[in-house]
């Protein structure tokens, strides 16, 4: 069977995946793999094909072309193919979808019990796991509360705990922290890091570059259904960007683009009233900027957000 990185068999191997809706290509010749213990992040603007890719990986949408194979069992077991072996694959997968699908009529504990039954688990087996799942989600004190009484972060953590009811090796998480406040998001990251430490593997889609940088060992950048970059966050930044960024804003900042200052940067971008200077060395630029005391400057290292915007552009994506 095909292998992921370093000769270790991949848990999930996607090859030449394609999907069209009518004449629109949503996913175009996409290939990637997830190695055991790895967290792979999929980033891209709205409509880039992230959710469609996840749906195809779950057998909820039929691929137009290509193959999706899972090796979630013992090394001796044959790989399973989606969508043919969908039931056998899903029995060993954990999924958190973009929208919460918790049962509003059940308590947190009942939500876990009922969900476990869908996996064919015995009630006694599930009941035994419920306390540790609730503890993992920091919801022990909310065991008897219904989702309507929970905050957004608590609901997402309950969804995550629910996805762990069958003790899966691989988790597919579609935007797990969208809509959460910073505290809730940090708690979610902490939980996900804990899972990675336990040796679980995660496929994660996200809009948040800090999330991708913090959690993902490897990133896949999608745009218009195509893979436009792949690598570790650090490598991608080093590969595509100058190391230093100077942001300048305030009245008259945009005019700098036409000034001789332009020569001190390798690349300049304007977004609204802010000018971004990308450079190998920011010192000469910062020195020259002292002549414009009314402007505010921010000197920082290049980050994933810069990479994302460079690769996918700054225009707003209304679709998707």
């Amino acid at each position: 069977m095909s292998s992921g990185r370093a000769g270790v068999p991949a848990l999930l191997q996607v090859e030449h995946l394609g999907k069209q809706y009518g004449t629109t290509t949503v996913v175009d010749d996409l290939s990637f793999a997830i190695a055991p213990g790895e967290c792979l992040g999929v980033i891209g603007p709205n409509g880039a094909g992230k959710t469609t890719t996840i749906r195809m990986c779950l057998g909820l949408s039929t691929p137009g072309t290509g193959s999706i194979r899972y090796a979630l069992g013992a090394p001796s077991e044959a790989a399973l193919a989606m969508p043919q072996d969908a039931m056998a694959i899903k029995a060993r997968l954990g999924v958190v979808s973009q929208m919460d699908t918790l049962d509003p009529d059940f308590t947190c504990a009942e939500n876990l019990l009922v969900y476990g039954r869908y996996f064919g688990l015995r009630d006694a087996q599930i009941r035994q796991r419920i306390p540790e799942l609730l503890e993992f989600a920091s919801l022990t004190h909310k065991a008897a509360a219904k989702p309507g009484e929970l905050s957004g972060g608590m609901k997402r953590r309950l969804s995550l705990a629910r996805a762990l009811v069958n003790d899966p090796r691989l988790l597919l998480l579609d935007e797990p922290t969208t809509g959460l406040d910073p505290q809730a998001r940090h708690l979610m990251w902490e939980r996900l890091q804990l899972l990675l430490q336990q040796g679980k593997s995660i496929l994660l889609t996200t809009h948040f570059m800090d999330e991708a940088e913090r959690l993902c060992a490897r990133l896949l950048v999608l745009d218009h259904g195509r893979k436009i970059a792949e690598g570790t966050p650090r490598d991608l930044i080093a590969q595509h960007l100058e190391p230093d960024v100077v942001e300048v804003y305030g009245s008259g900042a945009v005019a700098l683009v036409e000034s001789p200052l332009r020569q001190l940067a390798a690349r300049v971008e304007v977004s609204g009233e802010t000018v971004f200077f990308y450079t190998q060395d920011a010192r000469p630029l910062l020195g020259a900027l002292a002549a414009w005391p009314q402007l505010r400057t921010l000197h920082r290292p290049a980050n994933l957000e810069d990479l994302f915007l460079k690769l996918t552009g700054r225009q707003i994506r209304e679709d998707g």
Partner: protein, 271 residues
Amino acid sequence: MGPSIWQPPRLSRRFWPVFQRNLLVWRKLAIPSLVGNIAEPLMWLVAFGYGLGALVGQVNVVNTSTGSSTAVPYILFLASGSICMSAMNAASFEALYSAFSRMHVQKTWDGIMNAPVRLDDIVLAEMLWAAFKALFTVTAILGVMLALGISHSPKLLLAWPVLLGVGITFSCVALIFNALARGYDFFTYYFTLFLTPMMFLSGIFFPLEQLPPLVRVIATWLPLSNAVELVRPLFMDQWPSQPARHALVLLAYAVAGFWIALALTRKRFRV
């Protein structure tokens, strides 16, 4: 494109946890829902059965195969017909409004499909669940009818499984409209354009013999009239005249209804 939406149902035991889920929710709300389910049919029965029954007196029920007729009190005539209507309404409400809430509003089905449960099994579970709700409603109403002494026929015991079948038939048909719905408003059409006219064409309030001949022919193929033909004789301590024909008509509606509902639901979920 994937496999055809018309491929045969792929059903498995995994429907059971989905049925069990609905049962668990219902257990929390059973008593209030019971009041809602049986209060209205009983009001109809008492108001029309006793009120109108006093004016109408006896109604002749014609045995379609022998041509002989039996005169029965109007309350018995109405009770044996309206219990079929209650089974139909209970199954239809559950398979439309409640199933739609789970499918579309709460996204419960989407959550279930992330687990190893097929859409086919979810549709089967919803179908059986709506039929169970119908059976529950019918059981409660039967109990009240027995208490009121409307019928003491021992054959009522057989009416019970027949009414479960009626519930299955109507939940299968209703799930077609669930699959097509964009919102709750859509179901008003189903009730107003299909179920309400059918109530008046199925011999519940008055005998089919009152209808013009052409309408009568149509009426004999309606699922509700076939249900009434099966159930009413049992209330009268008689045997249905053409049990196989009536059962087959109901079965045909159920099988065709389930298949179409499944195909349209698959289409709805295939993106």
